[in-house]
């Protein structure tokens, strides 16, 4: 158990957050290696199906990050996304997902430090939640 490392899937928007992650790398900022990044054109592209699919595959944590509201490359993608994520998170928590598994942030392409810090926060929160045990689909559990 002590050598378990959380696996976190991060959906980063191409224009801001992914750029921020890239800048963090180029700047040699240290952050935990538990993040697996999936680049999306916009945080508004993130469909709740993706988040559910990620949970079903056994990810311990999910992190979605986009541009700051008002700065979306596509003008309003993240504004729609904000409402989507609010309701999604609310329903996920209501139906029993452990707190600390689902994270959202606005990180611009210049905010390398924020990216590294948020990554650290997310990893620690997921580590505290423990390995994912529920909502995982491996083999169909049928008689």
């Amino acid at each position: 158990m002590s050598d378990w490392e959380p696996k976190i899937v991060a959906f980063l928007c191409n224009w801001c957050s992914y750029g921020g992650a890239d800048l963090a790398g180029v700047s040699r900022l240290q952050y935990p290696a538990n993040i697996r990044i999936i680049r999306v054109p916009c945080s508004g592209r993130v469909n709740p199906k993706f988040i559910l699919a990620t949970l079903r595959h056994g990810a311990d944590g999910i992190w979605v990050s986009g541009c700051h509201p008002g700065d979306c490359h596509y003008i309003e993608g993240n504004l729609y996304a904000r409402r989507k994520f609010t309701l999604l998170r609310s329903l996920l928590e209501h139906t029993g997902i452990e707190p600390g598994r689902l994270h959202f942030s606005w990180i611009s392409s210049a905010e390398a430090t924020k990216f590294a810090e948020t990554a650290r926060t997310v990893v620690e929160a997921v580590r505290a939640a423990g390995p994912a045990r529920h909502f995982i689909k491996k083999q169909a559990e049928v008689d």
């Binding site: 504004l79 309701l87 997902i97 169909a140």
Partner: protein, 316 residues
């Protein structure tokens, strides 16, 4: 509500005579107690089959999306709000519809009655003076109507249709001081582990028949996410994770679109209280965005719009 039958038939006859509609969507009397069958009257000869009573819980707006003809439709409060949603979502045009508004005092929940009868079978039923009269093989009883309404009807605050061309009954007083979210708060008070167990138990009997989805007037996607194969988001077995995914995502797709008409719970063959998923989102949408579904043709649904100052307390 029996007088509605006469009014519905009269309106239908008149609309056919005036050639204002190609068909009338209503109900005809069911073949088993506490059920009525949705019915499409296509000409004036079929009008006398139209019928209305307190067992008309099916949401007739379910039959509207993608219709190309002109129809009259009998719509209760909830049904009319679903029509508003369908109009907002371009599933039907206002010009196609003649809405016969039916102010509703709540529909009877046949499962509650079955539970009350404890295994005895109801063979006949009638309604008089606020009482439901039930007769079976060797018993007869009168039940208080108010105590056997569908769960969503008991807490309904939109009994009168919000959009209509004519009414088939007088407007009824709306219920006041109704706590719509007692059950949601009960779950909110649970720990994550308890919540998970609660929902696991809730959907355990699910046989993935999709009656809930198909009965819902807001579920009209040509390809439902459960049928998407590349990639496949949900398996087709009754695996608990798959079943959970189905109910969760269906409820999520109804965020800001569900009118709590109860058609889903009514349709479920194994009596799952699927509204436990959608009620939470209804509460959220109300508290976060001040929106109630289906009340206005001038307001976009909450996920179709945004405000610069939308709350985001959890976003880092």
């Amino acid at each position: 509500m029996r007088a509605y039958t006469e009014k519905i038939r009269e309106a239908a006859k008149r609309l056919f005579a005036e050639k204002r509609v190609d068909a009338v969507i209503g109900f005809r009397k069911g073949t088993v107690p506490f059920m009525n069958e949705p019915f499409l009257a296509k000409d004036v000869d079929q009008v006398d089959q139209l019928y209305w009573d307190s067992n008309c819980g099916v949401n007739l707006a379910n039959y509207l999306p993608k219709r190309t003809d002109r129809v009259a439709i009998v719509a209760k409060g909830c049904d009319s709000r679903n029509i508003v949603v369908q109009l907002l979502e371009n599933q039907i045009k206002r010009e196609q519809l003649v809405i016969l508004g039916a102010p509703c005092r709540g529909m009877i929940d046949r499962r509650r009655i079955a539970a009350e009868l404890k295994g005895k079978e109801a063979l006949q039923t009638n309604e008089a003076g606020g009482k439901i009269l039930v007769a079976g093989r060797d018993f007869e009883t009168a039940l208080d109507r108010e105590a056997f309404l569908q769960e969503n009807c008991a807490i309904c605050i939109h009994r009168n249709p919000v959009i209509y061309d004519e009414l088939v009954g007088d407007l009824v007083p709306e219920q006041e001081n109704v706590d719509r979210y007692a059950d949601v708060r009960q779950v909110e008070a649970m720990s994550p582990e308890e919540r998970r167990q609660y929902f696991d138990t809730l959907i355990a009997p699910c046989i993935r028949c999709y009656a809930c989805r198909n009965a819902c007037p807001a579920c009209y996607c040509p390809t439902c996410f459960v049928d998407e194969a590349a990639p496949q988001w949900v398996g087709k077995t009754t695996d608990p994770t798959d079943t959970r995914t189905f109910h969760f995502l269906r409820a999520y797709h109804l965020a800001g679109r569900c009118t709590d008409c109860g058609a889903c719970e009514r349709a479920c063959p194994v009596a799952i209280k699927v509204r436990q998923f959608t009620k939470k989102l209804e509460k959220d949408v109300k508290e976060l965005y001040g929106y109630e579904v289906g009340l206005s043709l001038d307001q976009r649904p909450p996920l179709d719009t945004y405000q610069p100052g939308d709350p985001e307390p959890f976003i880092k």
